[in-house]
């Protein structure tokens, strides 16, 4: 009877161990998929930032300001510098 009790406990222990191992692997797969998703989203964000940077490139901004808004760079002597 005593032996059956120990066998039962050992059985439960190994079952839990097996469940834990399976869950660990499942988590590993989920983490791996999430990491891939994060990496893809980072790349997408980076690409969107790149497009924003392209649009704010000095050449583009100055051309747009001059050609579309008829703006000109102020001569330096006419710039009023406010002290901090």
């Amino acid at each position: 009877m005593k032996m059956f009790k120990w066998l039962f406990i050992a059985g439960i222990f190994f079952l839990l161990l097996a469940v834990e191992r399976v869950e660990l692997k499942k988590s590993g797969v989920r983490v791996s998929a999430l990491k891939q998703e994060v990496s893809l989203k980072e790349a997408r964000n980076q690409y969107l930032r790149y497009q924003i940077s392209q649009n704010s490139a000095p050449e583009r901004v100055y051309k747009a300001a001059e050609e579309q808004l008829n703006m000109r760079l102020t001569p330096p002597a006419e710039v009023i510098v406010l002290d901090d």
Binding site: K25, G28, K35, A43, Y47, S53, Q54, E59
Partner: protein, 548 residues
């Protein structure tokens, strides 16, 4: 009898056991590799080797170059499970025509590329469709595209890197080891359907740096814009412009036109400077104590200065006598030659070397030139005299601007910096450039006196067109004939330049502007000086430098 039967039964029972043992032995001893490989493939997947790369930023933190992960899509025909669906999906997600894909399909063997450098948005859509439709035979491989949000701005400095993230030229190559990191092939456990099981040892700490330059993108744009305009309107072969902070030695802008990846004229182009070098001659003369700005250089009634039998120096607008200040104002070759000769080859050479000519900067830019300054003991009188007005000596733009900065900041030659900061992947700064003096080249009084002389050059001399309304400018024009391949000089081929600083009293910028072989006009005062003025005006305005 019974014993015999038991033995037979035991032997019969042992036969399959023996067979199994023999089979196991055979598999272990003779087919071990085959089964080990099969097991390896079933259990493990290998993650691709990778090389990650940091970004290059401008002085304000704007991205000048960074690596974007892109993908290439290829088809492995023999693994395709649904050809029509594969073609349709590729066509829809990548924006390619079906006919084009079909054409490549027919022309290729088993493998062909459908598209390269697929952007993340398209890749995400394609990966989703492949998963949803359970398509097979499409191979997506990660690769990199080095992106430059500001287009060709500073590309001559930045240089190039390839799709494997390896720096090939310019700063990309110079700092390749710090910018990039190789991630080795890693073994990962596979789950069902080929998914990877993440384990702790798959994590790789990024050990790369982002490098911030001293180059300010906005200033670089303005400098480049003016340079491009002047190269084109003057019909020049090429040109360069450099802006340095004379107080720190930081390079604010360094432009070449036309732009070629990793080929920076300020570092690599050597030339004989002509009259811009007279400032160095004058500095040496004044600092030696043998001359003052008002010392008279008397040539008697001669309009030519005979240096040696058969070699005389002439001026286009000759004066019989002039002071050192007037010599600079009219850019007299006779005067500069006389100062150099009176100073003597040894002393003059000492100052030339002290200003940093004939030596590379500490930047170590790929292909940086040293220039040519021959040892003084090999100079004869003619070579000493011609060196006085900038012939027989060749230099780089970086050397000349650093020398002018030394005059501007009161006499210190500063270390030229192009790297401002290095930051690791965790955002921690691991290097910050500090202004560093190499040596004192001139006494402060000499620098102040020479600044006065250079101001006179702009106010009343040959460089009136370098003036900027509201600011005092100090500088010197230069027009030099180019050396000919056959020896001597080409009368019709020139290098025109202007080097100076602004505001003269409290300089914020030292600027060098050079045009190589302009068609017209051929004088620095007419083409390089106005370019200097335009660059200075724009920089003073955008940096908010107060008028005087």
């Amino acid at each position: 009898m019974t014993k015999t039967r038991i033995k037979i039964c035991a032997a019969l029972c042992l036969i399959p056991v023996l067979a199994i043992v023999l089979r196991l032995f055979y598999l272990q001893a003779y087919r071990h590799d085959e089964f080990a490989t099969k097991a390896e493939r079933a259990i493990y997947a290998y993650l691709a080797e990778d090389r990650i790369r940091g970004a290059l930023l401008d002085a304000r933190g704007e991205v000048l170059a960074e690596s974007l992960r892109t993908y290439s899509a290829a088809v492995l025909k023999k693994y395709v499970n649904n050809k029509d669906e594969v073609v349709k999906t590729l066509s829809q997600t990548l924006g390619l025509s079906k006919t084009e894909i079909e054409k490549r399909w027919k022309a290729a063997g088993n493998f062909f590329y459908v598209a390269k450098k697929i952007k993340p948005l398209e890749y995400a859509a394609l990966a989703e469709e492949i998963k949803k439709k359970r398509l097979q035979g499409i191979e997506l491989t990660p690769e990199y595209e080095r992106i430059h949000p500001f287009g060709e701005l500073a590309l001559d400095l930045i240089g190039a890197s390839n799709s494997k993230n390896l720096g090939l030229s310019g700063l990309e190559q110079l700092y390749n080891d710090e910018l990039s990191q190789d991630i080795g092939k890693k073994r990962a456990r596979k789950a069902r359907a080929g998914a990877i099981i993440y384990e702790r040892d798959l994590k790789e700490e990024a050990d790369i740096l982002d490098i911030q330059l001293t180059i300010d993108a906005l200033s670089q744009y303005h400098v480049y814009d003016v340079l491009k305009k002047y190269v084109e309107t003057n019909g020049a072969a090429r040109g360069m412009a450099i802006v340095q902070d004379p107080n720190t030695g930081f390079i604010i802008a360094a432009a070449s036109y036309p732009v070629i990846n990793g080929q920076s004229m300020p570092f690599q182009f050597t030339y004989e400077p002509g009259s811009t070098f007279k400032s160095i001659t004058s500095a040496a003369g004044l600092d030696s104590g043998k001359f003052t700005p008002d010392t008279s250089l008397d040539f008697g009634h001669e309009k030519r200065f005979e240096v040696a039998p058969g070699f005389a120096v002439r001026d286009t607008r000759a004066k019989e006598a002039m002071t050192v200040r007037e010599m600079m104002e009219v850019s007299s070759n006779r005067g500069a030659a006389k100062i150099a000769l009176d100073l003597g080859a040894e002393d003059f050479f000492y100052y030339i070397k002290a200003f940093g000519f004939g030596a590379k900067t500490d930047i170590g830019f790929q292909g940086e030139a040293r220039g040519v300054v021959r040892p003084f003991n090999k100079w004869n009188k003619v070579e000493t005299a011609t060196a006085g007005y900038g012939y027989g000596i060749s230099l780089t733009g970086m050397q000349l601007i650093s020398a002018y900065s030394a005059i501007a900041n009161g006499g210190h030659l500063m270390v030229a910096h192009i790297i401002k900061k290095k930051t690791n992947a965790k955002g921690k700064t691991v290097y910050t450039a500090e202004p560093k003096k190499i040596r004192r080249v001139l006494r402060p009084e000499t620098a102040a006196a020479l600044t006065g002389v250079l101001k006179a050059v702009v106010e009343t001399g040959t460089a009136k067109r370098a003036r900027v309304v509201g600011y005092s400018v100090a500088g010197k024009t230069g027009t030099a004939e180019k050396t000919s391949a056959e020896g001597g000089y080409e009368k019709a081929s020139h290098i025109v330049s202007f080097a100076g600083f602004v505001p003269a009293e409290n300089p914020a910028f030292t600027i060098l502007f050079v045009l190589d072989q302009p068609e017209k006009p051929i004088f620095g005062g007419e083409s390089a000086a106005p370019a200097f003025s335009e660059i200075a005006a724009r920089l003073l305005s955008i940096h908010g430098v107060k008028p005087q």
